[in-house]
């Protein structure tokens, strides 16, 4: 199975980085999260309900929808904050990329550790621009809002191709497909990583951090 890879690019002002990333990541996770599974004795299962909420951005003329899960929101915000800090430390012309990877775990026999097989990777390339005055910032607010709207449409287009999705797992396999650590929603297993490049395009500060959402330790 080939891993599906999608790349989105945004140019934003420094203080817009966080909200732009949250908007894109939450839009993707909205489509890649289900309600909690409840398995029954007969081998069937029922699915919990996913709530949604609107989030207004402060620095961008944009509103996005995220799943109503404060736990998930906290995790995503933490990752985005780290990315933003790394981007800020890299210098004023910093470019970076944050990736959201959905994967499946394939159990291997001891002593080998489980394999993580990605099936969908979203890469968001960020280019931070500096603006000179308030007028430019106001224009940027609106423009970035429009751009994010286009990104949401792009994401929805990709999701709607109904390409490969992992098969619905049995109870014993559910943690190989879904992140069951949250109490209210159940996203597919995912990882968020990021890379920072400096203005010359070379990977000077190659900070590769992995945030692994896998609470089922072996």
């Amino acid at each position: 199975m080939n891993c599906r890879s999608e790349v989105l690019e945004v140019s934003v002002e420094g203080r817009q980085v966080e909200e732009a990333m949250l908007a894109v990541l939450h839009t993707i996770l909205l489509h890649r999260s289900t309600g909690k599974f409840h398995y029954k004795k007969e081998g069937t299962y029922s699915i919990g309900t996913v709530g949604t909420q609107d989030v207004d951005c402060d620095f961008i003329d944009f509103t996005f929808v995220r799943v109503s899960s404060d736990e998930l929101d906290r995790v995503i915000r933490k990752a985005v904050a780290e990315f933003k800090d790394a981007l800020g430390n890299s210098g004023s012309d910093g470019m970076g990329q944050i990736s959201l990877e959905f994967y499946q775990k394939k159990k291997s026999r001891w002593p080998f550790s489980d394999e993580c097989i990605p099936w969908e990777v979203w890469s968001i390339k960020v280019n931070v621009v500096n603006l000179a005055n308030e007028q430019e910032r106001q224009i940027c607010r609106e423009k970035v809002g429009e751009k994010l709207g286009e990104k949401v449409i792009n994401i929805v287009e990709v999701i709607n191709r109904h390409d490969y999705l992992p098969k619905m797992p049995t109870q014993s396999e559910v943690d190989n497909v879904f992140d069951t650590s949250l109490k209210d929603v159940q996203p597919y297993l995912y990882k968020i990583t990021y890379q920072i490049t400096d203005s010359l395009g070379t990977s000077v500060s190659t900070t590769m951090r992995r945030l692994i959402k896998d609470t089922l330790a072996l």
């Binding site: 309600g35 409840h38 949604t52 609107d54």
Partner: protein, 415 residues
Amino acid sequence: MDSDLSSQDRKDLDKFIKFFALKTVQIIVQARLGEKISTCSSSSPTGSDWFNLAIKDIPEVTHESKKALAGQLPGIGRSMCVEISLKTSEGDSMELETWCLEMNEKCDKDIKVSYTVYNRLSLLLKSLLAITRVTPAYKLSRKQGHDYVILYRIYFGDVQLTGLGEGFQSVRVGVVGTPIGTITLSCAYRTNLALMSSRQFERTGPIMGIIIDHFVERPFTNMAHMHPCSYRTPGEDEGGTYAGIEDSQEVCTTSFSTSPPSQVMPSLSGEMHSDVLCMCGTQVTTTSLDLPFAAFTPRANDLEVNDPMVHPPPSPAPSSPLQGSLHSNSSSHSGGQPQDDFVMVDFKPAFSKDDLLPMDLGTFYREFQNPPQLASLSIDVSAQSMAEDLDSLPEKLAIYEKNIDEFDAFVDTLQ
């Protein structure tokens, strides 16, 4: 033999399509209410949340949807459309967007109804949630209130897009293949909203004139079918019970559950915002703070150069020729005779008539451009020197001491 679809599957599919249509309308109308929407996730399935999504049901909207469907289902050649339009306090209206739920003939015979179709419909509703916040009408709906309101209309049958003006754009929310056809959900939206919003800030012309440009002839009878995107608490509405409440017995069974549904559709209370949108107030005209004839007032830096308050004249020391000329320049006087150092430019402001009136605009500006020097700040060479000032101080102090009672009384009046 109809090997394509078992009767149970067909029944399920019809139910899915019906409730999908109802939820679609709910999402669209709720996204145009003008407020942020928030619902809670619930890990324990209650069996009443269709498509595993928490989407509230506004009874009025359900009622309108069912009225439009009239017992039918969206199908091939029978599209369900939700039209969103804007109506100003002046009474003019403009279509903003039309959401279309259609079905085409392309069938996917192999797809599993109770599993794949259901989950894909759920995904499509999530996409709809995201896309409804992205089209231009969203921002407009968030700002509705005094100047305009947002209305919705549901109709069934052929899609009508002529009211959206020229150059309207289309966005596809998604498609779901089923054994009886492919469901498509899309939105066509007006694009020349930007023109309207920038014109709103022009001083000339009321907005009504501009609306008419965009306004394709609309039979006003249609307005009867428009409904405001607002939720009124039950009791204000006509009737009170809706067919929707009877239908609440028809509960969705969440996927794959073998246990029977335990609860009915949650009854809807007036917990949602009940703004009654008021259609009053004037249009937004201008936010600019242009002063009239701003172009003709002297520029700030010019003013500064001559302004004695900004550049206080130096104290009267033996004056060098340079200082002398500075003094004379800054100590300008009313009835201003221009100095020999300056070249008199004949100031001809626009719209003024030359010398026909005793006080034309030019004279007015010349006279009042440099206000007279304050007496206390005048520094003619004949004024007292610093030394003389100091000498007169003791005398002045003696006078003030004598009148100290007067001063105290004055201070008391201030308190």
